[in-house]
């Protein structure tokens, strides 16, 4: 019974649509859970700037506030370890997701970012067996997720040597920054057959290619509604094919249920893997219809889903 337990969400950033979708999902699912008396409280906290120091302070405050569990999307996989350890020592269950932490006492609901990067190249190898030049759009320099996905992409290129990365820019996971960076490097690049991305940057890349009047390569999308909509338009107009892959913002609700299960006394393995959410040519319309205008394709989890994920890990 967890009806007297309090769970907190520690979120390090609120400045993009993915994070906002994540907060909305949290609000919706936990709101119902609190109403139903599953838990006593599920409060969301977010910091102003994407900074580990600020989030560490936030976690320490949660310890003081007496939460029983902290669900955590971390600014850094390692820089919060000090604060997480303190929480564990205070008897608090810490469940990290998306941005996971390496502190052993915490649970991790991880997406295999490396695989996410590698699978992009694998997909391209199926569409373009003869290979060609790729453009890589990276995230924010110095951040863990950026490094992981990029490493996966480079692994994929090693696996499929017919591809060659001829340019790499930082798009900071923002459409406008990606657009700017791609537009800057594009004039000096040879023909590009594919663009490998990290999410939140595909639409910007497409805009830059269109503006430069270059042939449109296969741009891997990141599940944003504007990306899917553009893809749909292209698909209807000229049969454009690509795929879209990202982590679903609703994973915060999975983390919530996992935390609730742990508080309930369930044995849960420390490392859980959630599949990333992938959209393909055939299920594009369906996903687009389910995605809020301007939002991100999403999956929210129920208690039963969470139990399934926990059990499948055993």
């Amino acid at each position: 019974d967890t009806s007297d337990k309090k769970i907190a969400l520690s979120n390090n950033y609120a400045g993009n649509s993915w994070r906002q979708a994540m907060l909305t999902s949290w609000d919706k699912v936990t709101g119902e859970a609190v109403k139903a008396g599953v838990v006593a409280a599920a409060d969301a906290f977010t910091t102003a700037e994407n900074q580990a120091t600020e989030q560490a302070a936030q976690i320490q405050n949660m310890i003081l506030q007496g939460y029983d569990a902290i669900v955590l999307n971390a600014a850094s996989p390692t820089a919060l370890n000090g604060a997480v350890k303190e929480a564990c020592d205070a008897g608090i269950t810490v469940v990290s997701f998306d941005g996971v932490v390496s502190e052993p006492c915490a649970w991790r609901i991880a997406v295999d970012f490396k695989e996410m990067g590698r699978s992009q190249v694998e997909y391209l190898s199926k569409k373009l067996p003869e290979g060609g030049n790729l453009l890589e759009i990276r995230g924010l320099a110095g951040v863990f997720v950026d490094d992981e996905i990029s490493a996966g992409i480079h692994e994929g290129v090693k696996q499929f040597p017919q591809f060659k990365i001829v340019g790499s820019v930082h798009g900071d996971w923002a459409q406008d920054v990606a657009q700017k960076a791609v537009a800057g490097i594009l004039p000096s690049l040879p023909e590009i057959v594919g663009v490998v991305t990290q999410g939140g940057d595909g639409y910007g890349a497409a805009q830059a290619f269109a503006a430069a009047k270059r042939p449109m390569p296969i741009i891997i999308m990141g599940n944003r509604e504007d990306e899917l909509k553009w893809w749909k338009e292209q698909k209807d107009a000229n049969g454009y094919e690509t795929m879209s892959v990202s982590i679903a913002p609703g994973v915060s609700t999975l983390a919530f249920w996992v935390a609730q299960q742990i508080l309930d006394g369930k044995e849960v393995k420390k490392d859980l893997v959630v599949p990333f959410l992938r959209i393909d040519q055939d299920n594009l319309e369906e996903n687009l219809a389910n995605t809020q205008a301007g939002g991100v394709a999403n999956v929210e989890y129920s208690q039963a889903d969470a139990i399934k994920v926990i059990e499948s890990a055993d």
């Binding site: 993009n16 906002q20 923002a174 910007g204 830059a208 430069a212």
Partner: protein, 316 residues
Amino acid sequence: MRIVDRISRAPWIWSWFAAFLVWFATIMVTGGASTLGLSQAALTFAAFSIIVGIGQMFVITLGPGNIDLSIPATMTLAGTVALKLMDVDNAMILPGLMTAILIGIGVGLSNYALIKALRIPPIIATLSMSFIIQSAAIWTNRGLRIKPPSFLADFTTSTTLGVPNVSLVALVISLAAWFLLEKTVYGRWISAIGQSMPAARMAGVPVDGTRFVTYVLSAVLASLAGYLLACFSGGAALNMGTEYLLMSIAVVVLGGTAVAGGDSNVPGIWGASLFMFLVVSMLNTYGLGAGIRLIMTGLIIISVIMLAGGRQPSAR
């Protein structure tokens, strides 16, 4: 010789010179094949830095300590609210623009209220304000990306006679700014205040009114840039202004405007904005990483200020 001498003393020449060098170095990679594409891209993206840079320049001209840190948040709020209001409807373009401008006026008003009434130093006042504006942007739309009306989307992304429309907008704003600075009474006033506030007051300049208008102007230009950028990139994002914080200061300083105030320079902002875009493109083109890129940017800023700092500014 005189002309060469005069030009080499112009404070804006260094940024143009640097921009040209970098542009040349970049197109050489492809043997000149990328000339048109790169130039168009540079003009397009420099346009946004130019618009916010001009606003920041007016503020910096007011003298030491005057800096507007609320530009990024203002861009975000204006873009978000305007696109939400227009809601992909071409008929709503003007009301959307008006709303963006009203937001700018509101932000500028609040900024100066904090500075004047509460005596908070401008740096901290505009920073605090930016947090509040950012929250307002989150609260209005929770980060949903609403598409711009089709006319605006087409307008901001296309070119006229090969020149990107947004850079034409920036050009019009720059000409207006240049006119304001060089030809109008208001331009004289802000320059006077920047050189010496007591002297300006004794010469009969309405100091508070002028400073107030300047903060409003900066915020309005920021919201205009936010409006355009949101339309250009297909929707407003909560983090879309972030990189314009340092950018707006850097282009002003590199452009030859005196940080100590009183001396501002519109052409320099063009040179510096083009340069800031091109230097990233060049380093990307050469395959250099983020670390090296940052270091080079820093060293270039310091060298430009050292070069420019040692000379006597010419009479204005």
